[in-house]
Symmetry: C2
């Protein structure tokens, strides 16, 4: 069952997925949910096989002296397999977006036009993270009526393949077309290159991983890609902020989980509040081990132990306990800084002035804008979407967290009684 990464094999895989997607798009919700439950059951039943295959990846990782954090992310244990199964069951519970009438209206000539949500067809997911992405994404794609082609990272090769085999075997006993899930079981990037050129059969590509992978995918894909490159997220502390609230929000945005895309990378502080706010805030950060890189004004106000920020810092996604800090003269300067240096991901203002908050939320050109809350909430689960395939900073199609609805497009169904164009 090992699939070669030759051009022919990838093209055939895409063709089979496309054919399967036609039947899948017409399946009732109950059939899709039954398949998800059967898949969840199989994962828990095949725990020992999954953990045995996972050992092969772990051994290779240890041999190559991968960092402990990566080895931890790679590990499949009983609890994690249970969580993967639960995610499939949770996805089964989510509302099926397919077939939803987004709008219906009647034209003067009697034509009834219905705008209806439909699956994309075939979704390609290229990722390099944890093995659970394999089953999570299979669940989301199938529930939204899409066939899926997966290409995981080489570190998780055996684990991904094992999860895939278990889930694919289940499909035989369901109404789901057996070819609706496909895995590019190859470790070379050439396979990705071939996949990215199958625009005739693949409708959407979602890359998940580091900026380098995403740039590679965006550059070589002839298929539409929904993505974000990075998250350079800001919090602007207005001079009308509640200082305690600002301390709590900024601390949370930076420290709670610094390695993720919705963590704060730059803090902007109004000059009128800088002297009262910065010393206490930076003290909090220092205690948590955060390295501060400040503008000259920041250094003047709270100089001890602060590095001078360079122009490069304002565009940097540290993904670490590092924070750049800038004192700004006004709301306007804060907005301009974010629109110039930001990544259009998630940005927050802390202020007690509703008018100012509204101005910030309107004028900043980002996917998610927060008034008086942490940027860490940009996440499909936190938004109430139940699950997410990723977060988009694109403006086309989906922006922000992407759940089941974002895995669908729409079509117009028009009902006539013989109308012709005059």
């Amino acid at each position: 069952m090992r699939i070669k990464s030759s051009t022919h094999a990838i093209v055939q895989m895409a063709v089979r997925a496309k054919v399967a997607s036609r039947g899948l798009s017409l399946l009732p919700t109950s059939a899709k949910n039954a398949a998800l439950h059967a898949m969840a059951k199989a994962l828990t039943q095949e725990k020992s096989y999954l953990m045995k295959e996972n050992q092969k990846d772990l051994q290779a990782a240890r041999k190559q002296d991968y960092p402990q954090a990566l080895i931890d992310r790679l590990t499949l244990n009983s609890k994690r397999i249970d969580e993967m199964a639960q995610c499939l069951r949770d996805t089964a519970k989510l509302k099926d977006p397919v077939g939803e009438a987004l709008n219906t209206w009647k034209r003067p000539n009697g034509l009834v036009i219905k705008k209806v949500r439909v699956p994309f067809g075939v979704v390609g997911i290229i990722y390099e993270s944890r093995p659970n992405v394999t089953s999570d994404c299979i669940g989301l794609c199938l529930k939204s009526g899409n066939a899926v082609i997966l290409k995981g990272g080489k570190e998780a090769f055996y684990s991904n393949r094992a999860i895939f085999f278990v889930l694919k075997n289940v499909l035989k006993h369901t109404q789901m077309p057996h070819e609706a899930i496909q895995l590019v079981a190859s470790t070379d990037r050439q396979a990705v290159n071939i996949l990215l050129r199958q625009a005739q059969y693949v409708d959407l590509i979602v890359p998940r991983g580091g900026e380098e992978l995403i740039r590679f995918v965006a550059k070589y894909s002839s298929i539409p890609v929904v993505k974000h490159y990075k998250g350079v997220c800001h919090t602007y502390v207005s001079d009308k902020a509640d200082i305690n609230m600002a301390r709590s929000i900024c601390f949370n945005a930076k420290v709670q989980r610094p390695g993720v895309c919705n963590a704060m990378e730059t803090m902007l502080v109004n000059r009128n509040i800088a002297k009262r706010f910065l010393p206490v805030m930076i003290d909090d950060f220092h205690k948590a081990g955060v390295e501060i890189r400040g503008c000259p004004k920041t250094l003047r106000v709270a100089g001890s132990g602060i590095k001078l920020a360079t122009e490069k810092d304002w565009r940097e996604e540290y993904l670490d306990l590092i924070l750049s800090v800038k004192v700004v003269d006004s709301l306007k300067e804060a907005i301009e800084h974010i629109n110039t240096y930001g990544s259009h991901h998630s940005d927050a203002i802390v202020t007690k002035d509703n008018k100012e908050a509204e101005q910030f939320l309107k004028a900043v050109d980002s996917a998610c804008l927060y008034a008086n809350a942490s940027t860490r909430f940009t996440d499909g689960y936190q938004f109430g979407f139940g699950a997410e395939v990723g977060i988009s900073t694109d403006k086309l199609h989906a922006r922000g967290p992407m759940g089941l609805e974002e895995l669908t497009t729409y079509k117009y169904q028009v009902y006539g009684k013989g109308q012709i164009r005059k």
Copy 2:
């Protein structure tokens, strides 16, 4: 005021448009409408100037022996300028999509999430058709809060430039940022190449014109493109069709305006109705001067004066009085033919059986599906959108006719009271 097409000039134009888009996105509807009305007035006041400039294009076109149809499309006369002005006034009447709350919900932690429609920012429109596109697209982009960069075809160089100058001069006397509209006043394709690489400043590209232009734009753009390459539209006449309705719909779809993307190019006929339907239908077509290219079965049933279709015909967009005809065994075969050979634009079924109609509308993977109506209705005006920037066969973002709403994206505005992520 002639703008050079050097890289620097195009980049500067994109930067100015981006800066202008920030202010424009915050303008109230009344200010945008006032500008559109002032622009409409200016067009009618400057008729003689516009017609004088238009003469330069017409003279060049006659010198190069352009076909009469092209010269006709190029011509600006008093009536056409009035229509352009009226289009701007009609656009002013349309509902402003900017700021519309698409959804608002509250999370258990008290966060209020608002999904709000916002402009893209800067839209680039690359076209090769009639000069009225210049003012129509300026109106649509400004009303939807977007700055616009226009690049028209070389045949209409002087006309486009004149319309642009008149409209740009008006902006000085309105609240609209003066740099919100830009024209690449150059006739070489190199300028397009440079524009297509300004992803940092331009948010969306809409190409309008022939398939060759659109393929060029899609190939070289690093900016997201919404487009359709061609319209290979089908009508399937079921054995459960009302024969008179089928004759009327098929005739309209092919003959009323054969040169447009929503005209029918292939007619599929169920074999059980072929003998009753095809002879009369093909007789109608022959009387209207339509050349028929049929499958072997079509030739057997209504052979006189019919050419044998080749495999190539099933993928052909004739844009002319030519029609390919195929007899199929079943609804299933019709659906498969359309999904295989079609362009995912507009396809119709004629049938009295609602269940069959519903099956067709669900299973055909196209932007617009019709039950018992002509495919010629795929059009922003006919759908009731008031106007259109184009028609998309893409699945990302916009599908089918694109009006004002399709010139917007969305952002999430999240209102908190100090919430942090646990």
